[in-house]
């Protein structure tokens, strides 16, 4: 994969994430907009002599608070992701990066009825990597599993740490097409890790070793 191809694919990846995040934020804004509209309806009703119950106002305030929190979380995730392009190689908390990545990807996965289940053996594991290319690599690995299913499925993402190495495991769902190995190896090299495929508890995983 040439530098230009990396650049083109990075832009596509960034675009896919941005489109997904903006769609999710638009949903938050639409809910707040409808909540404001409901409040307006109730005020109009109060003007015509029908009092607004206190508990109704409380539930409206709660709805706005829930959606505001949701919006803030989405923006924080996007901001963390956007800053992953700041430096080519740096020390990062790979648990935080992977957790943020999994949450960003969840909306895209949900469209295919897939729940990303992330588990980590520690809260903080520091490694040297190219954070953006590692995210691009993870995207390639999970994207191949984003196939429409009739039933809901779980896709596991794990980080395990032993004394000498850190391993990220990304599940391959049974019907998923394998991503192009040469691209994965190229990206793994640029993200400062090695790549192989392993079987654990009868499940095929892609394995990234640092």
């Amino acid at each position: 994969m040439s530098d230009k191809e990396i650049c083109d694919n990075s832009l596509k990846f960034f675009g896919a994430v941005t489109a997904s995040v903006s769609h999710e934020l638009n949903n938050v804004i639409s809910i707040i907009d409808q909540t404001g509209g409901l409040l307006d309806d109730l005020l109009y009703s109060a003007d015509t002599g029908k009092p607004v119950p206190q508990e109704k106002l409380r539930s409206i305030v709660d709805k706005i608070a829930v959606q505001t929190d949701r919006g803030v979380r989405i923006i924080k995730r996007m901001n963390y992701f956007a800053h992953s392009v700041d430096e080519a190689v740096k020390q990062v908390n790979i648990v935080q990066l992977t957790d943020n990545f999994a949450r960003l990807m969840q909306r895209l996965a949900s469209q295919k009825k897939i729940e990303i289940v992330a588990s980590f053996s520690a809260d903080s594991i520091q490694i040297n990597t190219n954070p953006f290319l590692l995210e691009l690599l993870l995207y390639y690995l999970i994207k191949s599993s984003f196939i429409s299913y009739n039933t809901e499925r779980k896709l596991r993402l794990e980080i395990n740490q032993s004394s000498s190495k850190v391993i990220i495991l990304v599940e391959k769902l049974p019907d998923a097409e394998a991503p192009e190995i040469s691209i994965i190896e190229e990206l793994a090299g640029r993200a400062k890790c090695s790549f192989d495929i392993t079987l654990k508890d009868m499940i095929v995983y892609y394995r990234l070793k640092f």
């Binding site: 489109a19 903006s22 769609h23 638009n26 949903n27 804004i29 639409s30 809910i31 907009d33 409808q34 909540t35 509209g37 409901l38 309806d41 009703s45 709805k63 959606q67 949900s110 469209q111 295919k112 009825k113 429409s148 009739n150």
Partner: protein, 143 residues
């Protein structure tokens, strides 16, 4: 005019509940569905003047749901209400037969206006189909 019967289809439950509450306070008969599959079940059981449908939904997406609804009843009035649809998605939806395309957040007055227009259009189409059937019977019997 009779009470408008509306089905809201969107996986954002909070959104459909709020919109349904506001439409009901305007004397509309509103049902909600969280998925294309649930919408199809409701469409098979009840007659709706208008269906307000989101495009991006898990599993059966809006385009597929639209295709199935219109496959069952080509006169069904479907209004698409979605986030940021791409141009190909919008073109595909209009080609399939969606009557209107709105982007979220949409104002309720606009939605109400579209639902009322849809109700009139559906009644006109029903009348036209009835007249066509009567004409067909007349021609066949030679009256």
């Amino acid at each position: 005019m009779a009470q408008e019967r509306v089905l809201l289809v969107d996986d954002e439950k909070e959104f459909t509940e709020l919109l349904a509450e506001r439409m009901r306070s305007r004397e509309m008969d509103v049902d909600t569905a969280e998925s294309g599959a649930e919408a199809m079940v409701k469409v098979c059981k009840k007659y709706y003047d208008a269906i307000i449908l989101d495009l991006a939904m898990p599993g059966m997406d809006g385009i597929e749901t639209l295709g199935q609804i219109l496959g069952k009843n080509p006169d069904q009035q479907v209004i698409l209400l979605t986030g940021h649809a791409t141009v190909p998605q919008s073109v595909a939806a209009m080609k399939l037969g969606a009557v209107e395309f709105l982007e979220k957040p949409a104002k309720i007055d606009k939605l109400i206006e579209l639902v009322r227009t849809a109700q009139v259009k559906k009644a006109d189409l029903f009348q036209k189909r009835m007249e066509e059937s009567i004409e067909k019977v007349k021609t066949k019997r030679g009256w």
